[in-house]
């Protein structure tokens, strides 16, 4: 949080001279960092909104604008009429709804299990954290093999006498809920209810696998910060394990849960690396996320204006969900 701390201005002429010096030196000290951040993060946000009002299909100099007419809201109009956009929105939503709660719950459960005097806890922590350190590309390359036709999962399934689903995992466009409902004879559900495709679900599973360890370490630190005597008091009052968990552990972990949900949500809404490497948005567009759409429209189709419009919509979606989450968190705290 931002604290409104002001420098201590002590007595004496030398101090006040130094304080006067700080008034411009302070800016000098933050100048390099501020320049980088304003040029490459703050400025671009505003610039993205600007570009989204143009038919910006060329990469030229700033000045030459003959080829990029101002078209007002046309990019947004096109976007909201494009089935491709809604598919990407659906895919991104499923991805986030699937990954964020699962990885949070698993991480919390693992942390609860590990939060006791356990031999080799250091080893387990290291092992769980390990996937978080390697690059998304390395992990994607390993999982492409795991999910491949003769990869790990299919080989294990065949050895167990189970027929693997066809088409193979990362090429399977069938929605998981549609598949499930189909087994009960229910066909042709609404596209929104078909669920993520098997390809998308495979990528989601990979993402949960990667982030689990890091999140567990965060929860574990939070659990160890809860003072012992709080639990002792509860146990003297005859609270059951479940009551202790519900009424003490969960509320005290609230700030951490909030943090874990927020970074999870922001990360999931802009998932790109895994999609690019593992499925390239396919099969049948079922793994094309909004972030991937920004990439294909902007850098394969060179429609920078249109792609900027998508990224601005993405920005607002993230902002709205973020604010909603904060509101829910605030309300919870009031209770």
């Amino acid at each position: 949080m931002v604290s409104m701390s002001f420098g201590r201005s002590g007595p004496g002429p030398s101090r006040s001279a130094a304080d006067r010096e700080d008034r411009y030196l302070g800016w000098l000290f933050i100048l390099p960092a501020l320049l980088v951040i304003v040029t490459f993060i703050v400025g671009p946000i505003i610039y993205a909104a600007w570009v989204s009002f143009f038919d910006w299909d060329t990469i030229g100099q700033f000045g030459e604008d003959a080829n990029r007419p101002f078209i007002g809201l046309d990019n947004y109009r096109e976007l909201f009429n494009s089935p491709q956009f809604y598919q990407a929105l659906r895919n991104t939503t499923w991805y986030t709804i699937g990954v964020v709660p699962l990885q949070t719950i698993f991480a919390l459960l693992l942390a609860l299990l590990a939060n006791r005097k356990i031999r080799g806890l250091g080893f387990f922590r290291t092992a769980f954290y390990f996937p978080s350190i390697s690059s998304s590309v390395v992990i994607a390359v390993i999982f492409i093999w795991i999910y491949s036709g003769n990869g790990l999962i299919n080989t294990v399934l065949r050895n167990l006498g189970i027929d693997p689903p066809r088409p193979v995992w990362l090429s399977n466009p069938n929605g998981i809920f549609a598949q499930l409902l189909g087994k009960f004879g229910i066909d042709g559900v609404n596209v929104w209810l078909e669920g993520p495709s098997i390809a998308m679900a495979s990528i989601m599973a990979q993402n949960i696998w990667t982030s689990l360890g890091g999140l567990m370490v965060i929860y574990l630190a939070g659990l160890q910060n809860i003072p012992r005597d709080v639990y002792e008091a509860a146990s003297l009052d005859g609270a059951s394990r479940w009551q202790t968990f519900r009424d003490i552990t969960v509320p005290l972990l609230r700030p951490i849960t909030y943090f874990v949900l927020t970074i999870g949500m922001i990360g999931c809404f802009q998932v790109f690396d895994q999609i690019y490497i593992m499925s390239e948005g396919g099969p049948a567009g079922t793994t094309t996320t909004l972030a991937y759409l920004v990439y294909t429209q902007g850098f394969q189709g060179f429609r920078l204006g249109y792609a900027s419009a998508i990224s601005i919509v993405l920005f607002f979606i993230i902002l709205v969900v973020f604010l909603l989450q904060r509101r829910i968190d605030d309300q919870g705290q009031d209770q």
Binding site: G7, R8, S14, R15, E21, R23, L25, G26, W27, F29, I30, A33, L34, V36, I37, F40, V42, G43, P44, Y47, A48, I59, L110, L113, A114, A127, F128, Y129, F130, I133, S134, S135, S136, V137, V138, V141, I142, F143, W145, N150, T155, N159, W209, L212, V217, I218, L220, A221, G222, P255, I266, F272, D273, I277, V294, G298, F299, S308, F315, F322
Partner: protein, 297 residues
Amino acid sequence: MATPSSFDTNRYQRSREDTRDIVVDRIIRFLAYLVLILVTIVTIGPFYFSVVLSLLPQPQTVRLDLWSFIPNSDWQIDAYLDVFRASDLPLWFLNSSIVALIWVAARCLFDTMAGYAFARMNFPGKDLAFLVILSTLMIPGMVTLIPKFIILNEMGLLNTYGALTVPFLADAFGIFLMRQFFMNFPVDLEDAARIDGASRWRMFFHIALPNAGAALTTLVIFSFQGSWNNFLEPLIYISDASLRTLPIGLAFFRRENVVDYPLQMSVAIVSIIPIVIVFFVFQRYFLESNASSGIKG
């Protein structure tokens, strides 16, 4: 033994409950170990398989036999020898190292200077500037991708090391981290120097910076990891093959050698060796800084 009074019965029941609690505790502890071991297998398994895959003769990886994952005499290191012939791995390695070095050095200087100023100095507009910087933590990188592309192009930095480094010379998280550190750093040392007539610069470079070791280690690790694994920006801002970093090199290499798993995996494994070494050496910092980022957030 005395005749059981009501008090004693109570006590008897209490101790029975205690025994039950101990049994429940034992069961939970056993389950805990079981789950932890299972999860360890699930997390480390893929890495084990990828290492073995890099050691198998290529034909064995096409028609997989699970027995080949148990150490046997068919394992070979041919793929690792092939890597240097078949790929530009040394070049990617060099590029990744140069980029990482610039990220780390620049952030250690700029983030620390800014963090120091925010913690120690009083200047007009300070709180606003800090708020602006902090708020960028929440800005999704995907949203700035296109304008950054246009800006980098305008600066003539596309397809240069500049595109891979200049936008990353400072970052909000690092500034926040260093500010937190200096807010808890004793002022006395600096005050003594100030009385001796030391300037701010001197106080910063001779007192604050040399004593910021612990926080700087965290900053170095985060920056190194961030740059070593960065994928999105190099993918878009670099098209020249001679400027590819490890993640980009690996991604393209995989596409060109789709069925040669031993070769793919050996490149992948070599590419993560530096980060794995850093991880094991500074493990404590990794786990601690990850955890503290959660608490402070």
